[in-house]
């Protein structure tokens, strides 16, 4: 049960959005730019960073929905994002994305943990400063979304099947809907 009196029948962040539509609009637009806007990192890579950080923050709603979005950017295949969740170092992803996930994992704990050596390691794998910045930005943003969702204790479906259509919409229709 939510900690405060949020609208009923809506899962996760959507109930908090319905509580204060004025806040919802820029939060949705921000997600759209971060995860689906023009970028040299693919949307699948960016959704994977979002799911990874949410997993580390133990925010089930954000993890499960962005896991599904990452899968739907890859034809509905969950194997890569699930391999990242289990152990990103052995997952079938690029060395560049692994280096960016290392930075994202540190940002999840605290931004001060990111070192010059982490940044140099990402550059050595071919990451541009823009990509390093964007990985930081996404990890930081999900440190916000996760607290917004779980601080309010929004309704979290436990069945994985509930998230599949949600992820499909997030991937293909996006975060800003009429």
């Amino acid at each position: 049960m939510p900690h405060i009196n949020l609208p009923e029948g809506l899962p996760g962040i959507t109930s908090a959005f319905a509580y204060r539509p004025e806040t919802a609009k820029p939060m949705r637009e921000l997600a759209e730019v971060l995860l689906r806007g023009p970028n040299t990192l693919t949307s699948a890579e960016r959704e994977t960073i979002a799911a990874f950080v949410s997993h580390r923050n133990e925010c089930h709603f954000c993890m499960a929905s962005h896991r599904a979005a990452a899968a739907h950017h890859q034809g509905g295949d969950y194997s890569v994002v699930d391999a990242v969740r289990a152990d990103y170092q052995t997952a079938p992803i690029s060395a560049k994305l692994k280096a960016l996930l290392t930075i994202a994992g540190k940002v999840q704990i605290g931004g001060r943990r990111v070192t010059d050596a982490d940044v140099a390691a990402a550059r050595a794998e071919g990451a541009t400063d823009t990509e390093i910045h964007d990985a930081v930005l996404i990890a930081a943003a999900f440190s916000m979304y996760n607290r917004y969702v779980d601080g309010l204790a929004t309704f979290t479906p436990t069945d994985d099947a509930a998230y599949d259509p949600m992820g499909r919409r997030m991937a293909h229709e996006g975060y800003v809907r009429k």
Binding site: I4, E58, G110, G111, D116, V119, D150
Partner: protein, 196 residues
């Protein structure tokens, strides 16, 4: 001191923040290096400034000054010196008591802050440092201290927002400024967040 990402500082997109940065650089003035981040990602910044304005300034049952104190308290816990000083200055401007603001940040329990406000800061402190441990009883404690649902919604939102800013700013290496520059910035922040 520069940030970790010279490629970001060198790539300012035209707009309000690029103009501010270029003016300050030309005049050799001390300026907030967060402007470099804002100028690098103007579309992100457009949405963020409206989000920040909404969370921090929308009229509700919790004052703008108290929301700035939550921002400063969250930033202090996340060891983001830039944000701590910026929002302590804004809180001081709005609450009119700089000594009380810093006392609350440095040692909440021994500060002269009213118990009602302490209860809210203890709660957002837990949302920052132990999110999975937040339980219904924590919120019940805040409600018992006299805060309504709307205030709790805005307190959590402000706390969540600064968990974002703190990470963005510390991971990219934005340095703190002089006390005078932070005080001046605090007066600006007290007026609001939307420049475009």
């Amino acid at each position: 001191m520069s940030t970790f990402l010279p490629g970001v500082e060198a790539d300012l997109k035209p707009g309000t923040y690029a103009t501010l940065v270029e003016g300050a650089r030309r005049d050799g003035r001390e300026y907030s290096k967060i402007w470099d981040l804002f100028a690098f990602a103007p579309e992100t910044m457009h949405h963020l400034s409206h989000l920040t304005q909404g969370i921090m300034r929308q009229p509700t049952t919790i004052s703008a000054g108290m929301r700035e104190l939550i921002a400063a308290y969250t930033s202090y816990q996340n060891e983001c010196r830039f944000c701590t000083k910026a929002h302590a200055a804004a809180a001081s401007e709005l609450l009119g008591d700089e000594a009380l603001v810093w006392a609350a940040l440095e040692d909440l329990e021994s500060s002269a802050l009213p118990e009602r406000d302490k209860a809210l800061l203890r709660f957002v402190g837990k949302v920052t440092t132990d999110l999975p441990g937040v339980v219904r009883e924590d919120v019940a404690g805040v409600q018992a201290a006299g805060w309504d649902d709307e205030a709790i919604y805005f307190a959590i939102s402000a706390c969540a927002l600064f968990n974002f800013y703190n990470r963005w700013i510390t991971a990219t290496g934005v340095p703190e400024m002089s006390p005078e520059a932070h005080r001046l910035q605090g007066k600006g922040l007290a007026r609001g967040y939307v420049r475009d």
